[in-house]
């Protein structure tokens, strides 16, 4: 009987249950998704550029577990709040308390199991779709990643079953403690806003100190190593939570104190809503901040590793292409590229060696890399030493005569005359007189630089293929052109880039569901407020504006703090990336656009609940 009654109660609140279920499914599927990557040791170790990557994933797992833990606890207390009043009524009608508690326990577990099954199914699907999409996008092929991964599935199932049991027990305890009267009037209780005193100020200062320690340990990650990760993880997480619990309510309160602002239009209501929301959302907002930091951080890291490919490639070779005696087809391809710098060097091939015309080299010297220190990476110069006539490189060792080839020019000649063109043939510098005397076939070496190497990848590929056929090399023969350098760097980074994007998307989805869930679950309490305002004659547009404004602030604070975390956190990667901040605005911008879209969706969903459109 009671069971039937409670089923009908469940049906009448199906909207709230859908929100609840969607939230649970989301968190389970994301947890699973994360684990498919984190637990696949073989894949990670084979594909990551970062040495202690397993440790990074371990730390990420801990963080995600904490976030999920609070998420599930909150979701279940929401479930309890949905049922409280109804159960209270059954009790006043004479239902026994232990029966009601058992019902609550069962309901929590059943909902948990349903969402677990759906969540894992969705997780497998998401992992499959996102995984293959990214692999395609990044031209990264690996059969080591499995969307359906049994160990992850088992861990997810165990983790969430335990969580649901814990929350079922907690719900039961809560039900046992409250009186019937409290249950019946459950929805009348206004969420009280705690008073703040000296403790708050202390906690606020502490939060700043914690964050500073965390930032410092990320900046000095090179010295602290794994310890740095652990310190940053602990201090930044706790610092963020404290910051949101102490500072944010103070800021809103300060905003509310401004009488002029408050007594304008609907502001009094907007800020009151905001104040109430910020106070009830501090922990969620802190969680969201951490997830934003993780998500934007992963995406930014992924992008940086992707950008790093070009930085590394550009740092290894200044010129995009080196070509000897271009054919007609090759010339046509070259014509399609907007070169910013082109160099030509004439030479003659005789049986004694290859004679380069000194005047060409001296008049338009090629740029070479400065390889003195890490700071000089990617910088170039022209050879500053004098180029002596008769200096030579390659050829038979014991056959060597003539003056010493200066280091700078040695490097330049190695670049102009790649090894694969004439193999080990001797290269000799000849002045005009000497050059004229040499009997042999004339040739020309061509260097080109365009600034847009990555925009013409297919052209470079074609040129490389043509060179191979021209020089009668097999197609799988390695030639050290810039393009082949590029492909090997890309293959090397792809795994890391893939992991960055994959995690970024997972954390982003988690963040979205977390904030949306919290806002929507609170929405039904706001319905009558908006209804009353409508009745006393507040225009719809004004109410909409109020919602946009209120939720704007709710979204704003986590975004600011989260992005600060990311910007400072990128410093961590300076040990492996040349310029961790190169084009960092791009992923942040992409992230902000997604975040903004998600903000609009949340406002619309919220509006749909509190202010249903008539007819």
């Amino acid at each position: 009987m009671l069971f039937k009654l409670s089923m009908s109660g469940l049906r009448s609140k199906y909207k709230d249950y859908i929100v609840l279920l969607a939230g649970l499914v989301m968190s389970i599927s994301i947890f699973y998704m994360f684990q498919t990557l984190a637990m696949n040791k073989a894949f990670i170790e084979a594909n990551a550029m970062i040495g202690p990557i397993q440790f990074v994933f371990y730390a990420g797992s801990v963080l995600l577990s904490i976030v999920t833990f609070f998420y599930i606890l909150y979701a279940n207390s929401f479930l309890l709040s949905l049922r409280q009043k109804e159960f209270g009524m059954y009790m006043t009608l004479g239902a026994r308390k232990n029966k009601i508690t058992r019902l609550m326990f069962m309901e929590t577990v059943v909902i948990g199991l349903i969402s677990l099954v759906i969540g894992i199914a969705v997780g497998v699907g998401l992992a499959q779709v996102i995984g293959s999409m990214l692999m395609k996008e990044l031209e990264f092929n690996s059969d080591g990643y499995h969307a359906l991964y049994l160990p992850s599935l088992i861990v997810t199932a165990i983790f969430f079953t335990a969580l649901f049991l814990i929350s079922a027990i907690m719900n039961t305890i809560k039900m046992l403690r409250v009186t019937v009267l409290q249950l019946v009037h459950a929805d009348v209780q206004t969420d009280k806003i705690a008073k703040r005193g000296k403790k708050t100020v202390f906690a606020a200062i502490l939060s700043i100190i914690l964050l500073l320690i965390g930032y410092a340990s990320m900046i000095f990650m090179t010295y602290l190593q794994q310890l740095g990760v652990i310190i940053a993880l602990i201090t930044i997480t706790s610092g963020t939570y404290l910051l949101f619990m102490t500072f944010l309510p103070l800021i809103i309160l300060a905003m509310k104190r401004n009488k002029k602002r408050i007594e304008k239009g609907l502001n009094a209501f907007t800020y009151a809503q905001l104040n109430f929301r910020i106070n009830s959302l501090t922990k969620v907002l802190a969680t969201v901040t951490m997830l934003i930091a993780l998500s934007a951080g992963s995406i930014t890291a992924g992008m940086s590793f992707k950008n790093n490919i070009m930085i590394m490639v550009d740092g290894a070779d200044y010129y995009d292409v080196t070509l000897h005696n271009p054919t007609k087809a090759e010339k046509e391809l070259l014509a399609s590229i907007p070169f910013t710098e082109q160099k030509e060097y004439r030479y003659k091939v005789s049986d004694k060696g290859i004679y380069y015309l000194k005047d060409d080299l001296m008049n338009h010297p090629p740029r070479i890399m400065i390889r003195a220190s890490k700071e000089d990476f990617g910088k170039t110069k022209v050879p500053d030493a004098e180029l002596p006539t008769g200096a030579e490189i390659r050829g038979e060792k014991n056959d060597k005569h003539g003056p010493q080839m200066p280091n700078d020019w040695y490097e330049a000649m190695e670049m102009i005359q790649p090894y694969y063109v004439y193999k080990g043939e001797r290269v000799i510098i000849a002045d005009q007189q000497m050059y004229d005397r040499v009997q042999g076939k004339e040739g020309v070496a061509l260097l080109g630089k365009s600034d847009q190497f990555d925009a013409h990848l297919s052209t470079w590929k074609q040129i490389d293929a043509m060179q191979k056929s021209k020089l009668k090399l097999t197609s799988d023969q390695y030639i050290n052109t810039k393009y082949s350098n590029y492909t090997s760097f890309r293959a090397f980074s792809a795994g890391t880039v893939y992991m960055g994007f994959f995690l970024g998307i997972a954390f982003l989805a988690m963040m979205a569901s977390c904030l949306m869930f919290k806002i929507l679950t609170g929405a039904s309490k706001d319905i009558h407020r908006y209804e009353m305002l409508r009745k006393i004659g507040v225009r719809r547009e004004l109410l909409m504006k109020s919602m946009y404004k209120e939720l704007f602030y709710v979204f704003l604070f986590p975004a600011i703090i989260g992005i600060i975390h990311v910007l400072i956190g990128m410093e961590m990667f300076s040990f492996i990336l040349v310029h961790p901040y190169f084009r960092v605005w791009l992923p942040i911008l992409i992230f902000l656009v997604i975040y903004a879209v998600y903000y609009f969706i949340t406002v619309q969903l919220y509006r749909g609940i509190v202010m249903p459109r008539k007819k």
């Binding site: 009488k259 007594e263 609907l266 006393i536």
Partner: protein, 253 residues
Amino acid sequence: MKTPVVEVSNVKKVYGKAGENQSYALNGVSFTIHEGEFVGIMGPSGSGKTTLLNVISTLDQATEGMVRIAGSDITKMKQGALSDFRSQKLGFIFQDFNLLENLTIYENIALPLSLQGVTSRQIGPKVQKVAETLGITAILHKNPAEVSGGQKQRCAAARALVHEPAIILGDEPTGALDSKNATSLLTAMTNLNQEHGVSIMLVTHDAYSASYCERILFIQDGEMYKEIHRQSSREDFYREILDVLADLGTTKA
């Protein structure tokens, strides 16, 4: 005599779509409320009182007929204009959910003024003045959760009044109050009406509350049934009302 504030002529309200089983919640109601009047609407449950109030308060639209408030025909207005009209010309006191519990009493009362763009400097004195009239000065800084039901309704009355609307509309404002609190609210409303000349229209099914009015319109099955005026003391009027209600019961049966 005085100028009319509310003119209702031949208003009909049909629920249900054409073709289906339609029902007339209002079936040709006409009456006029003049400036400074305190009018009560009574009738049995389901007779159409709330429907009538909703039509007058522009929250619902009449199927037929005309409603004029302070000279404007509200049956012809658009949604946005109706919102503005409500916020400027009408004051509401409902049975519950009157105050926004996340604002202080002061902020609740100030809300209609700030909505109309009254400057912050002018708002303070106006709120103070209505608060004095209704005897709630001492609780202005409190939250609605911290005051009694009667005080809450007086605050609602203050909010309904603060922007000097053409008329105050109440749908069973005493419905959720005990007799002591109901009396204090009714006294306050009578005071507003007599000392400050505020027009009030009150829907109620409680004869005691109705006895505070000057004139009572009885409706039954969506039609005007009877109208009585207060001639002598409130006690006599109370008895008269009970008689009419008894009649209503018998004719219905």
